[in-house]
């Protein structure tokens, strides 16, 4: 297997996502220009230009046209569409005096009807909320972030339905969260050097994967019983230690053991 190197961003990458078919790869970076690539050959298909701070934008994948801009009063951190694409959940960071929040927006079938209005805004967790995703049949929103607690919210009432138990919790900030393909379980990665697999109906802890370094990113294999943890030391410590001590590696674990 030969790696395909895709060059195009001018600032560090923040997020990668394949489309459902797997033929397109979308990349985001701090340079404000989301880019789409052919997954097969790494050829750049186009960029989505015109993004700015403290907003979430809805784009037309095909034409690259910005359809709508949701404006927030603090930086937007993550987005996720519900099953059926009728709703989107967007998290925003704590900023100056604003606390972090989870916003639910209705995505109109016709862009002419799209409004900026949030269906719901949920607040409560302290610190940044790094991810919020839709749970089973859009009945939940699952969030995780700096306070190290996994929470489930009711997207109709905005109430917190449940949160992970104290003994199960991560000990440090949760950096990433990834849902399995069928939505039955999800994986969280944390700076406490572990990743945890949770049941997405009951929020029971299924497995804990202990590693030797802070976990920055996690992924669940869509086909096999594998999970992948990517990690390394804090960026601030990189220059102070030998490159091998940093251990920037991806580790594969068998889900079951």
């Amino acid at each position: 297997m030969r790696p395909i190197l895709m060059k195009g961003h001018e600032r560090p990458l923040t997020f990668l996502k394949y489309n459902r078919d797997g033929d397109l790869l979308f990349s985001c970076a701090k340079d404000h220009n989301p880019t789409v690539w052919f997954a097969d050959n790494g050829e750049r298909l186009g960029t989505y230009e015109g993004h700015n701070d403290q907003t979430a934008k809805l784009w037309d994948v095909k034409t690259g046209k910005a359809l709508y801009t949701f404006v927030f009063d603090s930086p937007a951190r993550s987005v996720d569409f519900s099953v059926g694409d009728k709703l989107a959940v967007i998290t925003t960071d704590p900023f100056i005096e604003k606390t972090s929040a989870i916003h639910v927006k209705r995505i109109a079938a016709d862009i002419k009807d799209q409004t900026d209005e949030s269906v719901l805004v949920m607040k409560g967790p302290r610190g940044r909320i790094n991810r919020a995703v839709w749970g089973q049949l859009n009945k939940f929103i699952i969030s995780a972030g700096e306070d190290a607690i996994v929470r489930m919210w009711d997207p109709l009432t905005g109430q917190e339905i449940m949160s992970s138990r104290d003994d199960d919790n991560h000990k440090k900030q949760i950096t990433s969260l990834c849902l399995s393909t069928d939505g039955s379980h999800f994986l969280t990665g944390s700076l406490d050097k572990s990743a945890k697999l949770w049941d997405s109906r009951t929020l029971t802890l299924i497995k804990t994967y202990v590693t030797e370094r802070p976990v920055n990113a996690v992924a669940v294999s869509p086909l096999l019983d594998h999970v992948v943890l990517g990690g390394g030391q804090d960026a601030s410590a990189v220059t102070t230690t030998d490159h091998r001590a940093g251990k920037f590696e991806a580790k594969f674990y068998d889900k079951a053991s």
């Binding site: 049949l137 109906r201 091998r244």
Partner: protein, 711 residues
Amino acid sequence: MAMDIEATAARLGVDLSQVDWDSIRLPPGEDFGVVSDDDDLMEEETLEFDQGFGNIVVVDNLPQVPKEKFEKLETVIRKIYGQIGVIKEDGLWMPTDPATEKTLGYCFIEYNTPQEAELARDKTHGYKLDKSHIFAVNMFDDIEKFMKVPDEWAPPETKPYTPGENLQHWLTDAKARDQFVIRAGQDTEVLWNDARHLKPDPVYKRPFWTESFVQWSPLGTYLATIHRQGAAVWGGASTFNRLMRYAHPQVKLIDFSPGEKYLVTYSSHEPSNPRDTHRVVINIFDVRTGKVMRDFKGSADEFAVGGTGGLTGVSWPIFRWAGGRDDKYFARIGKNVVSVYETETFTLIDKKSIKVENVMDFSWSPTDPILALFVPELGNQPAKVSLYQIPSKEEIRQKNLFSVSDCKMYWQSTGEYLAVKVDRYTKTKKSTYTGFELFRIKERDIPIEVLELENKNDKIIAFAWEPKGHRFAVIHGDNPRPDISFYSMKTAHNTSRVSKLTTLKSKQANALYWSPSGKYLILAGLKGFNGQLEFYNVDELETMATAEHFMCTDIEWDPTGRYVATSVTSVHEMENGFNIWSFNGKLLYRILKDHFFQFSWRPRPPSFLSPEKEEEIAKNLKKYSKKYEAEDQDVSMLLSEQDREKRRLLKEEWESWVNKWKKYHEEEKLEREKLRDGEVSDEEEEYEAKEVEYEEILDVHEEIVSFDFEQ
């Protein structure tokens, strides 16, 4: 607990808010079924020295003077006591008789700190002001104690004998395992090294067991812990009980005598006058009774090791013990003297120190009462290394050395050889080169041999004797990758000459770790070499294995020489923890622990077997080991069986969980379709990349083209 009290109070009609809790006194020995969990705490508190009047001394036997001479006497006293410490403002009080206005012949002096007061007592008790006035100085706090002493002697009570625990029970482990202690985070833990099961087996764990470090006694009987109030030792047959405590406020360092009869403790205290040097307090305790056998107090300068370049600070241990298990002698170095004490009376041998002009360093033979001293060059006098027999203090051997810049002494573990590494100046004095003086201590007249490296300019990076053996290893060289040479003090054809066995070229090593039973050696590349390990067999002169424990900071062989522990302590941020290896370099298991501070094997006392018996066992090892090999086999079979079983169960559990979900997922299929407005997108197909040619007419443009007919 509080609920119980409230309920009981309500039943008895007691208004709790009216109760003065402090006035309640329980009958002695009664706790009404309430077990206090702060017993330990309260006990420890009583140990803290009383802040009351600990800083006041009473000076008796002063002259009784009339009013006119009061001021003069006061000046004299102030001069004597002001030298020792800072007397508090209004801290000198000399009472007078109101009738005669004469002084009463005593006074009180209050210092800033109890340490100064104690020093004043120690230094001036017995001070001769003149023939008829010899000072009697006491601590103010002690006066009350002395008053209580009954005038008549009563025989001490004889306590019935209570048998103690077997403190060496760990040696009787049926699996012949060894123990080790680790400190990580707030926990200190003792574990068995269960190499068969490839994991440690817990023995005892306690959070906040010590305030700084822990230390095994040399024969492994005790584990010492360090606290604000003093040191303590722990041990026992099945667990770790506190066996004895040694009060020494702010103790910083400890050292056991080799036979673990005595414990030396050290503390250093800020002077109240910042211009003074630190005050040093050293106590020597009897380990079993807890009694202070001797104490030493003074300024840090008095305990600093002398040297040509002035004081080099206190180097621990200040008192070094003579070898052997009988703990008979200990010694320290001072300015131009070496003071040797014996433990019968805890005083200097012959009541005087050995005078050696300019002495810089000394060391004991590990087995015999022989002292080796190093004296550097001074004026016309050459440098020398001398051996002294104790207690006769007779110089039994001396070697003069010229152009010496430094010397370091290395004793072989059974006291047979002494190697002195001598750094000498070259003729130009610009650089130094190194050679060795090898003493054969057990031979008649102690012959000395000189060994120089083939390349005289090579720097010596490390030197180590083979324990119980006759070989040594040297890391030398100027290159980034140094060489390692092995020498023997006796080879088959040359029994009384040193000879080289081999040299290994360009190794990534800077430290040597011999197995305690000899024969095997780890060539370690620590620090700059990032934790390279080479397991080397010196009998066969071959490498058994090479490995790496990345960033490894510490290496320690177990006392039997069967296993090695390598650890990364908290000097590094990442990968803290330890690895256990077999003697031949096979990684057995690896434990990661954040904030890992210390790893220490529990030492074993020397074997009771005679060398002949040991040799006999070594010869018939095959016969003896059969039984153990069979056991090993069984355990490893069982382990892999258990491991497979565990995996199978995990797999099954996971599959049943997945299947349950699949069912739900199937059931919810319709709901999902509804959410997607009837789109069926559950079934996934692989996408196909198709190339589609797509033509679009952008523009149609007509243009008249002129023809040229001249072909």
